[in-house]
């Protein structure tokens, strides 16, 4: 029931946007705003032959950056939330570096890590990791001390505390942080993919633009949008399933 309702609203939204696009294309009637039907026809024709590989590259960079950010950010946030001492040591560094627009570091990253895969993945990592660190730290601080009591009297060690309390208590804020960071990560990925690569949705769209192939360009934009939507849906679904206790 819930899924059907959600799908209906999504489809209605998509239909509305398509109608809007159609109207604008009709009124403007210029090559840079092609009709949606033509873009979809082109997309269907070139998706498997040329777009799919670019989408796969973009997805892989996001996934790698995300995994890296979680692998480093979660333990860091955990340490900062759990131990005052770690927080005192790490907080100044996090606060001083957090507001720096990460995209401004791209030239340095490219000099250090090269123009290839690594600098692109590191860029996404940098954008997500701070959000994760801060969300996890704050979520741990928000756990009332009493929550640990029934476990402590049973002699529970740290692994049990982590499993029973810390992981489930931090999950909602953690997922929210990832969701918020994901939007920025996708835009930045687009930007980084215009340098030093021949794969990725960013490259595909800019390349189509330079070739003045507007149909290809629109098909690319469409795929990139669907990619973002898919990532959001995955995070949303995970949150819905894992945080059922909150509602």
């Amino acid at each position: 029931m819930h899924w059907k309702k959600l799908l209906t609203t999504y489809l209605l939204g998509a239909a509305f946007l398509l109608i809007l696009w159609q109207i604008i294309a009709f009124i403007a009637s210029i090559p840079i705003i092609p009709q949606p039907s033509r873009v979809f026809t082109r997309l269907a024709r070139i998706f498997t032959s040329s777009i799919a590989i670019h989408a796969a590259y973009s997805l892989w960079r996001i996934a790698a950056g995300l995994v890296l950010a979680v692998a480093i950010g979660y333990p860091l946030g955990l340490a900062m939330g759990y131990s005052r001492c770690a927080d005192r040591l790490l907080s100044p560094m996090v606060y001083l570096t957090y507001p720096v627009p990460k995209i401004a570091l791209l030239p340095i990253l490219m000099l250090l890590a090269g123009v290839g895969e690594l600098s692109k993945i590191l860029m996404i990592f940098l954008i997500i990791v701070f959000q994760v660190v801060i969300a996890v730290r704050d979520a741990i601080r928000a756990i009332p001390e009493e929550t640990f009591f029934p476990l402590r009297v049973l002699g529970a060690g740290f692994p049990a505390m982590l499993r029973e309390v810390i992981l489930p208590a931090t999950l909602p804020k953690f997922l929210t942080a990832v969701r918020v960071a994901m939007a920025t990560a996708i835009s930045v990925l687009f930007f980084t993919e215009t340098f030093g690569t021949q794969y990725g949705m960013g490259y595909f769209i800019m390349d189509a633009w330079l070739r003045v192939n507007y149909l290809d360009m629109y098909a690319g934009i469409l795929v990139l949008s669907v990619l973002g939507l898919a990532l959001f849906t995955v995070i949303d679904t995970t949150e819905r399933a894992a945080c059922r206790w909150q509602r």
Partner: protein, 237 residues
């Protein structure tokens, strides 16, 4: 409930003093040289006004606070959560919000790495006995105060603890539910005869549930220890 009388031991609180530091220079004494013996298989009700240190006392016994001086022993040895099974019921029931009722009840066996399948069968019996059968899959948020209390009781008694500590367990409930829960508690307790320390600020509750009643006064000292002849008598409330 498995009854192993050799596991039931008497609790001795010896000369406990607990201080809270307010800042670097000042500290505040919450408990002052408390001495108390709880014989095995009895309920000791600790009664006193708010702020007299009764919660501090029970947390110290639970090992959640470390006393500045004094010891807590059970049968001669210091109270160690790895040697002695301690059940602790905090004021807000202490249920994990992200676990279902059944999963909360099975917390003890999970932490202690006991046979969870066997515990599940026993948990089912407790759910039926406590009148909450059918609510196993609900989250604490989806339960009423009384139901949460029953889940917390099921969790405490499933453990078959050597020592049960209850911090104002029924005070958040309305009067009718509270009396009901006191009866539920006594029924379970009579089967298990667990050594229990129960903190309360209700005189009737202390009279009904306490085999001995410890009266505390402000300043963290014991005013009097009373052997209660009205224990378990409904006329007491």
């Amino acid at each position: 409930m498995q009854m192993n009388s050799s596991r039931r031991q008497s609790l001795i609180i010896q000369d406990i003093t607990v201080t809270y530091s307010q800042n670097e220079h000042a500290s505040f004494e919450a408990l002052h040289h408390i001495r108390l013996t709880v014989p095995k298989g009895t309920v000791c009700a600790v009664l006193g006004p708010s702020g007299c240190g009764k919660s501090t006392l029970i947390k110290t016994v639970a090992g959640l606070l470390h006393p500045a001086s004094g010891t807590v022993t059970m049968d001669g040895a210091p109270l160690d959560p790895h040697r002695v099974t301690i059940g602790f019921m905090p004021q807000n029931y202490g249920l994990l919000p992200w676990r279902t009722a059944l999963s909360n009840v099975l917390l003890g066996p999970r932490i202690r790495k006991q046979d969870v399948q066997a515990a599940r069968a026993r948990a089912g019996e407790l759910f039926t006995q406590l009148g909450i059968a059918g609510l196993e899959g609900r989250f604490p948020k989806e339960l009423s105060g009384g139901q949460q209390q029953r889940v917390a009781l099921a969790r405490a008694f499933l453990l078959a603890p050597d020592l049960l500590l209850m911090d104002e367990p029924f005070s958040a409930l309305d009067a009718i539910t509270r009396e009901e829960m006191q009866d539920v508690f006594l029924t379970l307790w009579r089967e298990a005869q667990t050594t229990t320390v129960l903190v309360t600020h209700y005189v009737e509750e202390a009279l009904y549930l306490g085999r001995t009643i410890v009266l505390m006064r402000a300043g963290g000292t014991i005013a009097e220890t009373i052997d209660n002849p009205l224990f378990g008598k409904k006329s007491a409330r």
